[in-house]
Amino acid sequence: MNGISAETYVRRCAEDELRAVHDEEGEPRGFRERIRALVFVGLLDIEVASGIVSSYGRARAVRGLGGYPGDEDTPGAQTVDPTRVARCSGEIDVSDATIVPRLVTLGPHRTRLAATIRAASGAATRRGRRHRPMIFEVHEITLRDDKGRSVTAHLSGGGGSEWRGWYEAEPGLSPDTAWVDVEGTRLALDDTCAGATVTVETCADAELSTEQRATRYLDHCARSFADQESSALATIADTLVTCGALAPDSPSVTSLVAADEDGEPHPTAYPGPGWAFQLHSHARRGRQPATATLIVAVSTPPIDGVSVAVTDLESTPDGFQIEIEGVGPVEFSRGYAPSIDTPRLATRATDDRGNDYRGSLAEFEGGSEGFSGTVRFTPALDPGASIVNLEFSTERARAIVHVPLHWGDRS
């Protein structure tokens, strides 16, 4: 490195930013990206980094400048219980609507019920009743479990005569309940599924050189920032080069520059051991129709303190998307994170025909304990693909959900 330590480097950056103009939101993001990179690459201790962020955050505050979010004490290691995903079926008549559930997720903090809601037959033509959208009748429902717990779940979703959405209750039901009662109708839960497997790889940092860790970190950030500004990547690369973690002409840096110029996804490489879990998903057999939905119903084991459940996969002519729900602190965007070393989640998909699909997060909501959202992939699934591999990765580990693409018979 240029004769200075990583700590000296970040302190000088903080001094520069005390006088520099920060971005529109008042937060000097460049500094945070620099210090985060050095922590994850192992050149800066997390406690030292947190102390620097705290001290300079105060210095900025007394100067009327924006501070550094995410400088709270690093949370201790937490046990993450994966979200339970179970299929269910039935039709539940409520007022002028019929609720058709298809699966339920039972996490440590909330319960979600995926359902289609449609008008009950004849409801719109009943005499003497003032017509109003049927969805108002069922925007709230009561869920119960086998422990006697009762919660109110609120609907979110969209549609017209038929709605597709999620009922959500937080706090939720007992994750180990044998059944879920929906407005007086008891639904059996089917945890069994077939076909999908999950592979988990954990990167053992002790086995990696600084350059390998830096390469991995830069690659991961490139995928995390898939749809965002590339200026952060340049800042990260500059930091890693300046602190001697990467050579200026290393392939990771040069390919980053080239990919950025071409607007292409950045290539990734993950060294490390792996192990496999056998999980199952419901599947329908047949050729892929133009628009189709698979119920996946798989949860990954915890990776880096985060577990991701994949509920649905919907394929359209323009691409495909998955519904996910997760447990554990995750930084999805660069604006929020409980601490400097909160993992960032990147998504990616490949198939058995060698295709690589670029994922971007949409309709995300989350906090320090969990999250849910939709990940959209482009381009459309290859009609000849028989399996899609959904990859969820943090800086230190990744889980890949291998989903057989068994579509329903076309009529």
Binding site: I4, T8, R12, S55, R58, A59, Y68, D71
Partner: protein, 286 residues
């Protein structure tokens, strides 16, 4: 070697202590509470539940922070980096008050003090507080400790400058003595010099330049040279003690690299002009 406090004049800080008006005295590098000759006894009584004396609270906090490098992080970097006393006072109050939407006097203040040298009276009271280590920036819990450093830097009567000087002097002595604590503190010491060099050099040059700074070991020859838009600066930590702290960084539109006593009341400065050529010696005397 001249003491680090040699060019810093004594000051007094009036303190309303209980129902009496006291004063804290700073002179020759030491802060004292002359109206509290039996300070240890008072501290013992406070530990048993008696109301603590505001004078001793300030004094004890001062002594705890005499080598706290966070002082150099929070304190001003010079005339181009003035701090707002109200923000410091607000920050020093403690939990939930890092916003600047409004400020109200402490509800439980046992004393308030005013500085004879400030334009406006300080309105912060010293309540009972406990010593604290690193202060979290985001802390919205009740009953959390007060931020001592911010509180001390909000005092009037020139004490913030003298607290900064105390920390600089303490660490300069440790560096000269080869103290083993210096190695661990090196990044913070480096940043302290770098930040103040930057805050001094850039306004003086009046043009944006990049600064390539190297902190030198004690006794090394300081240097400043320019290569296009890059300024290469090589300074020891002692530059903070001998030059910056005493307000000698820019004299007669020249930048001082070093200051050394020539004789009692007379100092020799090694300076450069805006072209960073020279150096040229300047002698000043009081």
């Amino acid at each position: 070697m001249t003491a680090w406090w040699a060019l810093l004049a004594p000051v007094k800080l009036p303190v309303a202590c209980g129902e009496e008006n006291h004063a804290l005295h700073w002179a020759e590098g030491t802060l004292a509470a002359p109206e509290h000759p039996d300070a240890d006894r008072e501290r013992a009584l406070a530990a048993l539940g008696a109301d603590p004396s505001p004078c001793l609270q300030i004094l004890d906090a001062w002594n705890r922070r005499a080598d706290d490098l966070d002082v150099l992080v929070l304190a001003g970097r010079g005339p181009s980096d003035p701090l707002d006393d109200s923000r410091l006072q607000f920050a020093g109050r403690g939990p939930g008050h890092f916003g600047f939407g409004g400020y109200a006097p402490l509800a439980h203040a046992t004393a308030a003090f005013a500085s004879t040298l400030s334009v406006r009276p300080a309105a912060v009271g010293w309540t009972a507080f406990s010593p604290m280590g690193r202060r979290r920036y985001v802390d919205f819990e009740d009953e959390a400790p007060v931020d001592e450093v911010s509180r001390l830097l909000s005092l009037g009567a020139g004490l913030p400058q003298r607290l900064t000087a105390t920390v600089i002097g303490t660490w300069a002595e440790r560096i000269d003595a080869g103290d083993e604590r210096v190695a661990r503190a090196a990044p913070a010491l480096d940043a302290a010099v770098y930040g103040r060099l930057r805050a001094t050099l850039l306004p003086w040059l009046g043009s944006p330049v990049s600064i390539r700074f190297t902190m030198q070991p004690p006794g090394a020859q300081p240097a400043l040279r320019r290569e296009g838009d890059v300024v290469h600066a090589e300074l020891p930590f002692a530059w903070l003690r001998d030059v910056w702290m005493n307000g000698l960084a820019v004299i007669l539109d020249r930048f001082s690299l070093r200051a050394a006593p020539e004789s009692p009341g007379t100092w020799m400065l090694s300076t450069v002009n805006r072209d960073l050529s020279g150096p040229q010696d300047l002698m000043i005397s009081d």
